[in-house]
Each structure stands twice: as structure tokens, then as C-alpha cells.
């Protein structure tokens, strides 16, 4: 199913998204990857506020390349999400709901997604030049010393994504491959 959705990703909206859906996303998202997540979770452990309001927020796992003069942002494709698995349940526990990345997630992340109605979107890994075209505004909001890993607030328009894992725990990596192999092997499932 093809969907055009506008953020924030409320619980109600999240529940209408299903693994395998093609989604064109419009709205404000936040970037963070390894070092940024570590810092945010340490801040939460100390009882501090995050640099942005996590309620219904969507986080893009990306470390963009530097913007050339005249560009909003450099190339900006997803990084491997599994490295954020240690932090994702904590982020969801304070209200973050959407995650954009690529690659497999651990069972504990999927469990947290079921508990908090989280959605894991896939962007095409390696398509940094294409995805940068959807990013209309970029603003550095925290952790500037981390360079490419700093926290940025982005405004995206019609960002092409696929729902990989939905809030019921259905997983495109498992189901998509099984469906392809079933058809290839002539099974009727």
C-alpha cells in the first residue's frame, strides 16, 4: 500500500502503518546515530531533558556528508540501525515513536515497538544523494562537537520510505523474503 503521511507520528497514525507499506513522509524529523544516542541516553539517566521534545518524534539514523555551498545538506542516506538497538527502547519509553534506518533490529527493540506503538521505516541504504533531495531544511540543534554525528532538526518532504517493522511486530525482512522464495519455488502461500 502507498501512503503519504504528515508528521508527527501519533499513536493513532502509527497503528495504521503496516510492514511493506511504501510511505512518503513529510514533516520534522531529528537526526542521531551512535554517539548522539549514547549522549541522549546518558542525559536521560541523569534526569535531564533531551535537546528536542521526544513526544511522537521520528529519529533518522544518519550522519550526513557536509553541505556544499548552496546545498541544504550533503548526501544523507541511512546508517545501520542495529547499532542503535541498545538505545532505541529508552528513546521509545520517553515518547519517540518513528525510527528511520536500514538493517535488522533485535527482538527487544521489536518488543518495545509493540509496547509503545513504534514504527521502523527503511530508507534505501546507499542512496544518500537521492534522499538529500527530500530534505528542505536542516538545523544543527545539539552536540556540534560530534561532527557528522551531531543532532540536527530536518524538514523533509515526500521522503520515500518503506515500513520494515510495524507496531504489531510484523517484519518485511522476514515476510518479503519468504513471499519471494515461496513464489520462486512455486508454492501458493
Amino acid at each position: 500500500m502507498e501512503r503519504h503521511i504528515t508528521l508527527p507520528l501519533t499513536r493513532e497514525l502509527a497503528r495504521t502503518l503496516h510492514a511493506g507499506d511504501t510511505v512518503y513522509l513529510t514533516g520534522t524529523i531529528y537526526t542521531s546515530r551512535d554517539a548522539g544516542h549514547k549522549r541522549m541516553c546518558e542525559a536521560l539517566a541523569r534526569g535531564e531533558q533531551l535537546p528536542f521534545d521526544p513526544k511522537d518524534a521520528t529519529i533518522y539514523y544518519v550522519g550526513p556528508s557536509p553541505a556544499k555551498p548552496g546545498q541544504v545538506i550533503g548526501s544523507a542516506g541511512p546508517t545501520t540501525s542495529g547499532r542503535m538497538d541498545a538505545y532505541a527502547p529508552t528513546m521509545m519509553s520517553v515518547g519517540a515513536r518513528g525510527m528511520i534506518g536500514k538493517g535488522a533490529r533485535l527482538p527487544e527493540v521489536v518488543e518495545a515497538m509493540k509496547q509503545y506503538d513504534g514504527v521502523y521505516f527503511g530508507a534505501i541504504g546507499g542512496a544518500g544523494a537521492l534522499l538529500a533531495k527530500c530534505i528542505k531544511e536542516a538545523e544543527l540543534i545539539a552536540y556540534e562537537d560530534l561532527g557528522a554525528e551531531a543532532l540536527r532538526k530536518l524538514y523533509v518532504e515526500e521522503m520515500p520510505l518503506v515500513v520494515i517493522i510495524d507496531c504489531e511486530g510484523k517484519n518485511l525482512y522476514e515476510d518479503g523474503r519468504a513471499a519471494y522464495l515461496a513464489r520462486k519455488n512455486g508454492s501458493c502461500t
Binding site: Q71, G77, A104, G126, G128, A129, Y173, G176, R177, L181
Partner: protein, 280 residues
């Protein structure tokens, strides 16, 4: 004897860092188009279309194909009749990486310490390999290597009794374990033989070889074809969403080894397998 200025090496490395990151090699482009034509799974077709559109944008607008502009793997084949003047060779290469990544707006992805971290800020040091060869030229290859795929690589020290079957199973097992993480369709570099370290270097060198070439020994050329076909029967597909196109190519490099061993290293790369060469 021919004299080559260290500064010339710096200039070439800087240029190759930028060009390799912005323009995907012709063999990879051709493989992506060929695989798109063969792919009959709808979601996989859509992914391959976006991947092709992406490298076309990067090529036309001179921007990085992927934001992970990698660690700069630099291979120098230095003719034994060359004398490098006017500076330190390693520093000349690092200065090339520094300039290329700064002036080319490439991402700085290197940390100073593997455990304590801390970005070096200029993508140095290069991963530098030098080889002394006959002649009076220097052949420079820059292969920026991203870590989404590097992290899915593996090495195993087989007993010789594991034989060919052991190698085949290991390749499939490693690709299976990599799954969607290394941005499939991937390129697989296999190094067999040598010592622990040499096997890994052979696997890296296998990724620098065009994927439309083959191993000179027909035995290994047949193995390359067989394993590519078997990988593309796994069903992982582009980005792991299912489909035929799991790998674009598989290259094997080999060398003699010890009577007691059969080292095998598998270096996984993505659909943005970049490398560019220039001869000085």
C-alpha cells in the same frame, strides 16, 4: 631511476578520493542495470530504480553517492626504479586524504582511538598498502570503504580437510548473516590462502577488481560464478526486502598457504563499491 615528488602523490590521492566518492565505477553501474532488467520482484525493482537514480544524481551533480564516504583505503604499487623526493610518503598520502575529504565536502568518519573514540576531523589516517613492483611508475588506487558493509565481514582459519565445501558454506553463511545490513545488492570479496593477515588483504583486493573480470584460474573463475548464482538464490534481495538481486558480483583472490591451513576471509561491500586508479 625516475624521481617523483611526494607532492604529486598528494595531489593524485586527493583527486581520487573525491572522484571515487562521486562517480560509481562503470562495472558497478552496468551490473545494477543488468540486475534491474532481470529482477522480477516488484519491491526489488523499485529499490533498484532508486539506487540507479541515486548514482545518476551523484554523477551529474558531483556529490557523494553515499554519505558514508568511508575510510580511505589507498594501494600504492611503487616501481622499484622510482625515487620519491621532497617529503615523507605516508605523510604525502595522508595529506592527500586530508585535502580530498576537506575540499570535496566528504564525511570525516575516522576516530583516533578504537575504544576511546574521538573523530580525527580530517578522515586520516589512510589505510595504506604499499607494494614494490618492477618499473618506474606508481600505480595509485583509492577505494573508500564504508562500514555498514565492512562490519559484516568475516575471517576463518579452516583445517585443510574442510576443503572446497568448507569455503562454499562459509561464503553463504556470511552473506546470510549479513542479510539486509550491508545495503544489498552487495559485492563480495573473498581471499583464500596466505596467512591470517594476507587472507584479509586478498579479500580487500578482490573488491578493487572490476566485477566483470574473473580469476585467471578457471577453477576459481567457475567458483566465482557458482557462488554468485547461489547467493542470488537466497532471496535476500535489494535492501533485504526480498528478490533475486542479493549480490552484484563476487571476486576471489588466492595465494599459496601453509600445509596445516586454509585461511579464508570474506570482505563484504555494498552497491556503492568504489575505487579509482591513476598511474603516475
Amino acid at each position: 631511476m625516475r624521481e617523483i615528488e611526494a607532492g604529486t602523490i598528494t595531489e593524485v590521492v586527493a583527486r581520487l578520493c573525491v572522484e571515487a566518492n562521486e562517480h560509481l565505477p562503470g562495472d558497478i553501474q552496468a551490473a545494477l542495470k543488468r540486475c534491474r532488467a532481470c529482477e522480477d520482484w516488484e519491491i526489488a525493482q523499485g529499490v533498484l530504480d532508486q539506487i540507479i537514480e541515486n548514482y545518476e544524481i551523484a554523477d551529474a551533480q558531483c556529490v557523494p553517492v553515499c554519505q558514508d564516504t568511508g575510510m580511505a583505503c589507498v594501494f600504492l604499487e611503487i616501481g622499484q626504479d622510482v625515487h620519491i623526493t621532497g617529503g615523507d610518503l605516508t605523510e604525502a598520502v595522508d595529506e592527500g586524504v586530508r585535502r580530498g575529504y576537506q575540499e570535496g565536502y566528504l564525511r570525516k568518519s575516522v576516530v583516533q582511538d578504537p575504544v576511546r573514540r574521538g573523530n580525527t576531523g580530517d578522515n586520516t589516517p589512510a589505510m595504506l598498502y604499499t607494494e614494490i613492483v618492477p618499473g618506474e611508475q606508481i600505480r595509485v588506487t583509492v577505494g573508500p570503504k564504508g562500514f555498514g558493509s565492512e562490519n559484516m565481514s568475516a575471517i576463518r582459519m579452516f583445517k585443510p580437510s574442510a576443503g572446497l565445501q568448507g569455503i562454499k558454506d562459509f561464503i553463504l553463511e556470511t552473506v546470510e548473516a549479513a542479510g539486509p545490513n550491508p545495503c544489498p545488492p552487495m559485492v563480495v570479496g573473498v581471499g583464500i590462502g596466505g596467512t591470517f593477515d594476507k587472507a584479509a588483504l586478498l579479500a580487500k583486493k578482490a573488491l578493487m577488481r572490476p566485477i566483470d573480470s574473473e580469476h585467471p584460474d578457471p577453477f576459481y573463475a567457475a567458483l566465482e560464478r557458482e557462488m554468485l548464482e547461489r547467493i542470488n538464490e537466497l532471496g535476500i534481495g535489494p535492501q533485504g526486502f526480498g528478490g533475486r538481486t542479493t549480490a552484484l558480483g563476487l571476486n576471489i583472490e588466492t595465494m599459496p598457504t601453509h600445509i596445516a591451513g586454509m585461511p579464508c576471509a570474506i570482505n563484504i561491500s555494498c552497491h556503492v563499491t568504489r575505487h579509482k586508479t591513476e598511474v603516475i
